[in-house]
Symmetry: C2
């Protein structure tokens, strides 16, 4: 490194420290010391190593930077200010309700791809972006992920580490800022840099230990990383929390604390000296790729089933996804070693280059999906509904990241039968409904499943598709359509005495109940609530109005958070009576029909409930 470059980067790093301190002091909260430990690394990345278009955050050839240690947000904002992307004055608005400079980064800001702040998630997102660069876009951008040492205890990190090595993601560069201090005490390994290195190495990474405040070290490590032909690179940087201000350096009690304005702030700024010049640097700008604008989605081949034939909705999901892949080259699929159960394998068989096997590691499955979504892809991420709970936090963060991601959970409910409760998704509707802005779809046959896959792809944002294991009769003609937010009133008569609202396997039970009651001269209305969120309030209210102000819901899900609650919420302020049939106790192994009867969601249970309410 030249003397000039060294001096320049050193000043940039100190500028970043000064901004981080001032902005958090102004906000009277935040994490300045964790910014200070990483300032030299970030300065070297943003003002020398990384290649990006300062005028276009959405240039798909930009190098990507993910601040996995999201509490260092002020450092990131400071880097943009120093790069001339935002104004220095803006930094003083940190954490204010009218500012997008939030306490942890979110994509309210154009330059933030993904929300961070729940630790240990950044590397998985980086894996997704690196998979995209290497295998899909074939772009030579690199993905940099800055992590804290504390967060490397998160298992999700090691899922990402294993997969990055498996897929030889040499375009992925992780940096661990080892400042030795967590929030409430020392980290597990303190400054044992060797421990970190041994572990990353054992997982097949190019691993480099450096002094994180030595600019030559940082630069040469980044050069080595760029030269890696096969391996992803992990740079393990020994740093000092609060570096640059003696009275906070490596001190307890300064984790989530701003330096108070007045004497202490003045002393800190004195030590760091004045802000240096803001300009005089060049950042290499990549060209915008020619395929930057996504192609229009072509017409998707329609479903092709015979009414009455027995097909599982999960099979419809797989068939629909494979067809969607024909029509939309942006669609990719990821699965966690259950592709032969979710039927994601149907997509894999047709579009192997756009399928990624993520093995039994659901956190990284979802994190990588988020990363892919931020590269313009439309990822369909599938596993058993039960096992998507393994990535509940990543799914939660995908909402804050405003990701365009589609989740598919198969083997919903007790109707999976003998495998027992560990494999039964009974809380997935609750989990996905809770996410702000999410769409939750629940097809009752293979036609609906295929159509809803297409609807999911067309909808920008988070969509969950719930599928079932058992084969059930196809009930819809192949030209039927299923708009998000709609429902299907499948049985309707002026003499209806009750309305049954169902979806998935219980819709089939409701139709059986209809037949039985019909034979006894009792007429009921049956609604297929395939769109659980948003829900078709109008149809529900219309039905309730003619059936004694009462609705009966029936679902293969726990009583809390599923179809019953979606219906209750829709009619909450209208005084409609809702009777919920749902799973209310811990299920066990058994045959699907036995279990549905035992838990009161079978056709017979519906018949009993109808008789009870009329």
């Amino acid at each position: 490194m030249t003397q000039d470059l060294r001096a320049f980067l050193k000043q940039k790093a100190d500028n970043l420290r000064i901004h981080s301190i001032i902005s958090t002091s102004e906000a009277a909260s935040g994490h300045p010391t964790t910014c200070m430990s990483a300032a030299d690394i970030v300065a070297t990345l943003f003002f020398h190593a990384m290649r990006y278009d300062r005028h276009n955050p959405h240039n798909l050839n930009n190098d990507r930077f993910i601040l996995s240690k999201g509490h260092a947000a002020p450092l990131l904002y400071a880097a943009w200010a120093e790069a001339g992307i935002i104004s220095v004055d803006n930094l003083l608005d940190l954490r204010r309700i009218d500012s997008d400079l939030e306490g942890h980064p979110t994509p309210r800001l154009d330059w933030v791809d993904v929300a961070t702040g729940s630790l240990g998630q950044g590397l998985s997102i980086g894996v997704g972006m690196a998979l995209n660069g290497k295998f899909l876009d074939k772009s030579d951008y690199r993905v940099y992920v800055l992590m804290g040492d504390g967060e490397s205890a998160e298992g999700g990190v090691w899922e990402a580490v294993a997969l990055a090595s498996y897929y030889k993601l040499n375009n992925l560069i992780g940096i661990v800022d080892v400042n030795g201090r967590g929030q409430s005490g020392p980290t597990m390994y303190g400054f044992d840099i060797d421990s970190y290195c041994r572990r990353f190495e054992s997982f097949g990474w190019n691993t480099i230990a450096i002094d994180g405040h030595n600019l030559d070290d940082i630069l040469s490590a980044l050069d080595s990383a760029k030269a890696s032909a096969i391996q992803p690179t992990m740079i393990v940087a020994k740093t000092i929390k609060g570096k640059g201000v003696s009275f906070v350096e490596d001190k307890e009690g300064w984790h989530g604390k701003a330096i108070p304005k007045g004497e202490q702030l003045d002393a800190a700024l004195d030590e760091l000296g004045p802000l240096g010049s803001n300009g005089g640097f060049q950042i290499e700008t990549p060209a915008v790729p020619s395929n930057q604008a996504a192609a229009e989605m072509r017409e998707v081949a329609p479903p092709d089933y015979r009414i009455g034939e027995d097909v599982a909705s999960r099979s419809g999901y797989g068939a629909g996804l494979a067809k969607l892949g024909d029509a939309n080259p942006q669609v990719v699929a990821l699965d966690a070693d259950v592709k032969n159960s979710t039927y994601a394998e149907q997509f894999m068989e047709k579009h192997g280059n756009r399928y990624f096997e993520m093995f039994i590691a659901e956190q990284n499955l979802v994190g990588s999906g988020i990363g892919l979504s931020k590269c313009g892809k439309v990822p369909f991420v599938s596993s058993f509904a039960a096992f998507l709970t393994r990535s509940a936090d990543q799914i939660r963060m995908s909402a804050i990241s405003q990701a365009n991601i589609k989740y598919a959970g198969s083997h919903a409910g007790i109707s999976i039968g003998e495998d027992g409760p560990s494999q039964m998704g009974l809380e997935d509707l609750a989990m996905f409904r809770t996410l702000p802005g999410s769409v939750v779809l629940y097809p009752s046959d293979a036609v609906a499943a295929e159509r809803l896959v297409v609807e999911a792809a067309r909808h920008e944002g988070i969509v969950y598709i719930r599928t079932s294991r058992p084969k059930t009769p196809v009930i819809y003609a192949s030209d039927e359509h299923f708009p998000i937010g709609g429902s299907k009133t499948l049985r309707e008569d002026s003499n209806d005495v009750a309305t049954v609202v169902a979806a998935g396997v219980t819709l089939n039970e409701a139709l059986k109940a209809y037949d039985q009651l019909k034979s006894e001269g009792i007429s009921i209305r049956v609604i297929d609530l395939y769109s659980v969120k948003p829900v078709d309030t109008e149809s529900l209210l219309r039905a309730a109005a003619v059936t004694n102000n009462t609705l009966i819901t029936v679902e293969d899900h726990y009583r809390e958070g599923g179809i019953g609650d979606a219906v209750l919420d829709a009619v909450a302020s209208c005084g409609v009576k809702v009777h919920k049939l749902a799973v209310t106790s811990l299920p066990r192994s058994g045959k699907p029909d036995e279990l549905m009867e035992q838990h009161g969601i079978s056709a017979a249970s519906i018949v009993r409930k109808v008789r009870e309410t009329i």
Copy 2:
């Protein structure tokens, strides 16, 4: 190993294979081939290496065995049959609805401590049991965890691996059954035994590679493990899926598939030969520890606050937990590097020997808690409410494990303020309410928090306590009690025109709204719904009956799955109108008051809603 012992164990292993095949064939489903790869290991453990009281599964000195690869359940059941614990005839009831021999193990069976079947969770549970043996009970039992190779991709495994090494759990012995095959294809590393070994070694484990079908290898590895003075031991065993039956050995398409009865089953049994003698072995039996019966809980010191003083409920949690620790020696606390935010540190300061720092690894935090609960401890597991979603699957499995575990989530809701959405727990009530049999508590002041900690400890089962970050006025006298399932009607008058139901920070807002409306001559009823599950239906209906058949709920949680839905569910079939005030869009950083106003859950919002409804 003597020739006799070798012959004996070999026959036992083949017996296990025969039982596993027959029972799954009889059930016509299940995973026989994964049983066959592990049969030699399990035979050596159960009939030679392990020490346990065949007549007392609850002897606290028993060695523990956790079948992390839960789909090998038939192998486990076969081992008990061969040990004379259950009858061989019972094995034929596998997976039947009237049998406790479920598709994956659950504690419906006395000899199963924890449910498995969601992969990658067993080792964490083993960590909890090993922590108990080494640091609390100071018993010399060992904990054996049998894992599959596919599940070692799960991050939760690596959280456990790191922590076991940190705490020097030499009483923990893991065994990876490397049969190279997952459900839908080869595992990430196939038969690359070295890869596994390098990784476990790098994390500080005593690591031993063996041929998993060589009994001498298995025995000598177990001897080495028993001799380990400091390190936990991982035995990496190369095996063959389906070992013993040539036409399924290492073959695709035989993961979750029984061998069909008839020709194929006959051929398989022919290859394995006849069942050998069932007896002729000795299992070393440990003595029952003298402190086996848990001590009675003593009186817990009462809260001591002044009404009106500002205290955060999370602070009440910490104080209450510390006092509970005085009264009950079985109480332990675990936290994930946020003990100074959850206030678990108050327990740590008083009872350091019963506090375990689990670092930033929430899956292992919960898994270890489950393990501790199964050793008779009463674990209180705390983190930010938002970050408990990281262990949603472990929490789900804790319900199936019927664990006696207490969860505490702090920093609930938007009222945390400037740290922003990644740190806000807004879906935790939905997550915990969904669990069958769970109790969900939400104190509104420090007195309630202290009391509810004690209630949680007294209740056998899963309890969630939700606490808040901001300081709010103490509203209860220190002698107030808070039974589970109750509520407090804090404001009540014969002229009430509306009922507001709240808990946590919004209760404080409701009381402010009451004051303001009162000054305008409008009287409202205010209910503190501190027990969100079970919910006090009677009080809700009574209030609705006198306030226009209407309830207004207000909560610092997303609209789905929280207080509003709990109330709606309680009154669902009664036609009561419920107006829900809740967070309905993605929040951002800002001051707590600003955010509560922006999202419509402030006192002013309540006042507006009351005016609207009357």
